[in-house]
């Protein structure tokens, strides 16, 4: 740790609480290590150009390292390479780059795994009814950004549904899927998408949601139709309000990730690199450092590992 | 007698163009004052400066001996000065009646007017129609027609009717008959005489010399942004007036 060392954090947006937490983690770690942190963010999810500009700014600013959650995992590679060539350490947080080794290291959740856990849980909870499930898929955006695709496809895999092209949602032919709709990852979109799919088929009983705000919106729609008690909603993130919603029975189960941990680990790695050029190491057996994912629910299902809401609340976005 | 409206040393510049160049102006109670001058002499600029449509760069205006400073035409209207601008100042998409009562709409009597602020459309329409008929604008078929669908002359008629209906202290007309037909022009001249008979002074800008000499009590000759001279139509011929304003003859010393 040295005077004058600085690091950059570049997130997809800074309006999503997930990234707010990530920034808090990075700020705390930076303060502890006595280095300067500059944060940048895109305006909307998928705003790739702003991220490129941010990387350029970090280079111009003489930073030692960059933590980035890329909006476009392969397009960002050019800018990342430029930064690494300029001697900066680049760590991908949350979202692996394509190829994954374009960054010096990756500290991330496995989004596919996060989806798979809730899929398995939903299938196990339905039990014998699983073959007759009526599933609504509430996705992120029509542009199909990778997080959304990974979670969606992970869920379907976990539920036992044939994926078709795993790089794309919406091409599945399983009749249990009522339809996909997009939510923009917020409550408003969640409610509207849920209403639309309910209008298509009122017998929906399983709802996959891209994140917890979308889940909260979907719940409002179900509530207005009096269906809130007989539909399973699953989601991803495990943020504090989300875990609270699991406790309140809004969400059945959610896959929790640990953005604060990703960020603090990332800052530590940059500090170490700036001090003596040490490069971070991967989790044994994986090509990235897995910050872990855990299923949070108070209704554990057989054969799916999970933690309780109480535990989840302690850890929420820790 | 004191002028009712008086201006001294008015200056108005537009970039490199000086439209008013230390211009003086006097209007006496109860008179018809004609303002004549070449195109671009600054006549419209003068009346705009007097009626608050533009704020002059220099100079001052007095109304009934009080110094006034109008920063918008609304100020002047509040003082009873009503103007028909050369551009007519109408909202093309709105109806004839709407335009005539713009800024001083009539409300329904009683609860609907007082609390619901409802306009009294039938009354406004009737008044508008009456005023237009007075001007002989009989081919207007629908008082709720948008102004943009009127012929050039019909549009001008509406503007003149508006000023005549509302002016209480001074009425200013910038080329009110330019687009009007023979009959309609005649009506406007009669209207001008009527208005004077009511004791209200009028400023009339016109290029029509016979009309000017027929109705004006005094003639303000404008040239190159200034008042060149004021003549009495009984003392000079139209040829003299035209010669003064075009610079063919020197102005009489007064």
């Amino acid at each position: 740790a040295g005077h004058g060392t600085s690091a950059c954090l570049i997130t997809k947006t800074d309006t999503n609480p997930f990234f707010v937490k990530m920034r808090e983690g990075a700020e705390a770690a930076a303060e502890a290590a006595g280095i300067t942190l500059r944060s940048y963010a895109g305006k909307v999810d998928g705003d790739h150009e702003t991220q490129v500009a941010a990387i350029e700014t970090c280079i111009a600013d003489g930073a030692s390292g960059i933590l980035i959650t890329a909006s476009d995992t392969s397009s960002i590679v050019g800018a990342v390479t430029q930064a690494r060539d300029a001697g900066l350490l680049v760590i991908a947080l949350d979202t692996p780059l394509d190829p994954i080794d374009a960054a010096d290291a990756t500290f991330a959740t496995d989004n596919f795994l996060a989806g798979e856990l809730i899929g398995q849980w939903a299938a196990a909870t339905l039990g014998d009814e699983a073959p007759n499930a009526r599933i609504a898929m509430l996705d992120l955006a029509v542009s199909q950004p990778t997080v959304g695709v990974l979670r969606d496809q992970g869920f379907l895999q976990g539920f036992g549904i044939d994926l078709g092209d795993p790089n794309k949602w919406g091409d599945e032919t399983d009749p249990r899927i009522v339809g996909n709709d997009v939510t923009a990852g917020n409550e408003e979109g969640g409610r509207k998408a849920m209403e639309n799919l309910l209008a298509v088929d009122p017998s929906i009983n399983v709802v996959y949601t891209i994140n917890e705000p979308a889940a909260a919106g979907a719940y409002e729609a179900l509530k207005s139709f009096g269906r809130e008690d007989d539909v399973l909603i699953v989601s991803v993130d495990g943020g504090c309000p989300g875990v609270q919603n699991v406790a309140d029975g809004v969400i059945g189960a959610t896959s929790q990730q640990y953005p604060l941990l990703m960020a603090s680990k990332g800052i530590e790695a940059i500090v170490a690199y700036a001090a003596d050029g040490t490069l971070p190491e991967n989790t044994p057996g994986k090509n990235f450092f897995d910050t872990g994912v855990a299923l949070v629910t108070d209704q554990p299902a057989d054969g799916v590992e999970s933690i309780s809401v109480a535990e989840g609340t302690d850890l929420c976005w820790g | 007698m004191e002028p009712i409206l008086k201006a001294r040393g008015l200056v108005k510049r537009y970039g490199k163009v000086t439209a008013l160049d230390h211009c003086d102006f006097d209007l006496y109670p109860g008179e018809i004052l004609a303002v004549i001058g070449d195109n671009g002499a600054g006549k419209s600029s003068l009346i705009k400066a007097i009626s608050g449509a533009v704020v002059p760069d220099e100079g001052e205006v007095e109304l009934e001996g009080r110094k006034v400073r109008f920063t918008s035409p609304t100020d002047a209207r509040k003082e009873g000065i009503e103007t028909v601008y050369q551009t007519l100042a109408m909202s093309p998409a709105l109806s004839i009646a709407d335009n005539m009562f713009m800024g001083r709409e009539l409300r329904k009597p009683g609860f609907r007017g007082k609390w619901l602020r409802q306009l009294d459309r039938p009354r406004m329409e009737k008044m508008a129609r009456d005023k237009l008929t007075e001007l002989g604008l009989m081919t207007i078929q629908n008082i709720n027609q948008a102004v943009e669908t009127l012929s050039g002359g019909q549009r001008q008629g509406v503007a003149v009717a508006r000023a005549a209906a509302f002016g209480s202290k001074v009425i200013i007309l910038d080329e009110p008959t330019a687009a009007l037909g023979v009959k309609e022009s005649r009506r406007v001249l009669e209207l001008i005489l009527d208005v004077r008979a009511r004791g209200i002074p009028i400023i009339l800008i016109s290029h029509n010399m016979p009309h000017v000499f027929e109705v004006a009590d005094r003639i303000h000759v404008h040239r190159l942004g200034k008042r060149l001279c004021v003549i009495d139509p009984k003392d000079y011929t139209m040829s003299d007036a035209v010669a003064f304003m075009t610079g063919a003859k020197d102005a009489p010393t007064q």
Partner: protein
């Protein structure tokens, strides 16, 4: 006297005897009546497109679409856009545009929520503060447009960024959950209150949207202020010259627009249950779309505010109709694009025929 030898003007000096000259109206029959109705009341055109599209989807999808359930669902889905479109219409009628509507909506709802929960202020007062926040933002917009004479597009673009960033900074991006609001401050969810009429479900929000539109339609058509709004949008210079206080009219329009956005923020809490700083992102573009489909000219001064309501409903009908017809999300998105253009093309065509 003019010295004409041929005193031709004498021919018209005798007045009073003239009859009103009249052209003949040669068009007759039902078609002419319809044409005339459309001509006099242009808001009927988008209404016509709306009814046609409801009938179209009704024929295509049968009772699935043509049910009180689906039709009132559309009303609920468009309520926010509808309310915001009312604000947007006012501004657009003055030849402006308001890009900050979505941001003002969100800030107002965040103020209502945070004042209640962070500071423990009684919810009624918090709501009042929220509405006032909307009005203040509107006032600033109006002042910059009317007094500083800056272009509305730029003013509201700047305000959009400023208000949105302020919202995120102020709220720390935290959501107030529906369950908490329901338990402690149900007034915030007032607009979600439901009542049933037959199979149809109406909410306070939907009723508010419709009433708001009707009241504004009255005000615009039947009061002096309404006429001034049109005059200012039509030709501000002419309006000024003919005695309208352009500055005051503009400011009042933006303040009212801000207030309506405040109500939209309140309605948003009802709709999504919670207070979330990420809502309302599409309110700008969706409200402008509704206004333009509704036949209000972006150049100001022309159109009827009821058109904006119909415009919002047209988009709502297509969105739900296409989903029910089985189009997937991406295709729906594409087809809505096609239909926006088509709706306006039909509108244009009807206007031409009825001219």
């Amino acid at each position: 006297m003019s010295g004409d030898a041929d005193n031709f003007e004498a021919a018209v000096k005798a007045k009073g005897a003239e009859a009103v000259a009249e052209f003949k109206d040669t068009r007759k029959g039902v078609l002419a009546t319809v044409q005339h109705a459309l001509h006099v009341n242009p808001a009927l055109v988008p209404l016509f497109v709306l009814v046609a599209s409801i009938i179209g989807f009704g024929l295509l999808l049968g009772s699935k679409f043509f049910s009180p359930f689906a039709l009132t669902l559309i009303l609920q889905q468009v309520q926010i856009v509808g309310i915001v479109a009312a604000a947007q219409s006012l501004v657009i009628l003055t030849a402006g545009i308001d890009l900050s509507v979505g941001a003002i909506l969100v800030l107002s709802s965040v103020v209502m929520g945070q004042f209640t929960f962070r500071y423990g202020i009684p919810v009624e007062i918090a709501v009042a503060f929220g509405l006032m926040t909307g009005m203040i933002c509107g006032y600033i917009n109006g002042w910059l447009v009317a007094v500083m004479k800056l272009p509305p597009f730029i003013v509201t673009l700047g305000m959009w960024q400023i208000v949105l960033a302020a919202t995120f900074l102020y709220s720390a991006n935290e959501t107030i959950r529906a369950q908490e609001i329901e338990a402690n401050a149900p007034l915030l969810q007032l607009f979600a209150t439901k009542f049933q009429v037959g199979g149809a479900v109406f909410t306070v929000g939907v009723v508010f949207m419709v009433l708001l539109m009707l009241v504004l339609a009255y005000v615009l058509k039947q009061t002096a202020w309404g006429r001034h709004v049109y005059a200012v949008g039509d030709d501000p210079e002419a309006a000024q010259l003919s005695g309208v206080n352009v500055r005051r009219t503009l400011i009042s329009v933006y303040v009212l627009s801000g207030l309506i956005c405040g109500f939209a923020g309140w309605a948003m809490i009802g709709r999504i249950g919670s207070v979330s700083p990420t809502s309302g992102q599409l309110a700008n573009i969706e409200s402008i779309t509704a206004v333009v489909i509704g036949g209000i000219s972006l150049f100001g001064g022309r159109g009827s505010i009821l058109g904006a309501l119909f415009g919002a409903l047209i988009v709502g009908v297509f969105t739900l109709g296409l989903r029910l017809a089985g189009a997937d999300a991406q295709w729906t998105y594409l087809l809505i694009g096609v239909l926006i253009i088509a709706a306006v093309a039909v509108d244009q065509w009807i206007r031409k025929v009825s001219a």
